[in-house]
Amino acid sequence: MGQAMSLGAGTEASVVTDIAFWVIAASSIVAAIAVVHLRDLFRAALFLVVSFLGVAGMFVLLRAEFLAIVQVLIYVGAVSVLIIFAILMTRDVEHGNPSNRLRIPAALLSLLFLGATAFVVLDTEWNLLDEAISPDGPAVAAGGLELAAETVAKVEEVYANTIPVIAELLLRDFVLAFEVASVLLLAAIIGALALVRER
């Protein structure tokens, strides 16, 4: 093993992944702004799909391939179709997409939130996994946390194939939440049907 960390192999700071990250990040942020700002709701929904796809790309960069597939299936496949149906069934073309009277306070609050979050993100000293598993990482060199060799091997094994670990987590550690989530989905289906039924 030594230097050849399989955890870092796909995500190490290579130029290609960097470029991919910034392209994906920029396109999903621009698409998110378009969702909020476009007057045509249908186009806003199409930009929402672009933003969802960008988030799926970010999941791939984060080594969460299963979540990327879930994102494409559920958000791009189902949620956006539902929203487009809602737009088509309630079309209010002449009114467009106006703001309410809270527009300026809302913008100020969002900017304040963004500033506070960015400050916290940049000011915190994170306990990074990549530094803890590589023997000559800066944190380890500075006397920080260093993981045992078996733990490092286990971490690499987990990230080599995440799906069995996620399955075990879902069906063992989080099994109660898993069952409650299925009841929630059933309740949502019944509720949605009851709400839109013609009387």
Partner: protein, 117 residues
């Protein structure tokens, strides 16, 4: 590319969603902005679980127990639950939008004020 950049992208998308949710009158735009916020939270959860040493490992760096290593992916499991809840939320939300539109012929949140007076 690193933890900070993912968290910042999440924060930016969340703020855009927050602005849209608070400031728009059309309920469908509000729903779409809510979905943006859910996505931002998912990015943050997955990025933290990818880059941060789990507390169980940090307290006991020599631990090799399966449970501790499984905590590595807890953020991804949280994201799966968030996706589930968001799907249920948008299904119910769209149903309510259509029910309100049928009764009131409007999709503006400012016009749905039957409960106010």
């Amino acid at each position: 590319m690193g933890l900070e950049s993912f968290l910042l992208v999440g924060a930016v998308i969340f703020s855009i969603g927050l602005y849209g949710t608070l400031s728009k009158r059309n309920v469908i735009t509000v729903l779409m902005s809510l979905e943006l916020m859910f996505n931002a939270v998912n990015i943050t959860a997955v990025a933290l679980s990818r880059y941060i040493v789990p507390a169980g490992l940090a307290q006991d760096p020599g631990a090799t127990a399966d449970q501790v290593v499984h905590l590595l992916l807890a953020g991804q499991v949280f994201a799966i639950f968030i996706v589930t809840v968001a799907a249920a939320e948008v299904a119910l939300g769209v149903a309510i939008v259509i029910a309100v539109y049928r009764n009131r012929e409007t999709v503006f949140v400012t016009d749905a004020n039957q409960l106010r007076h």
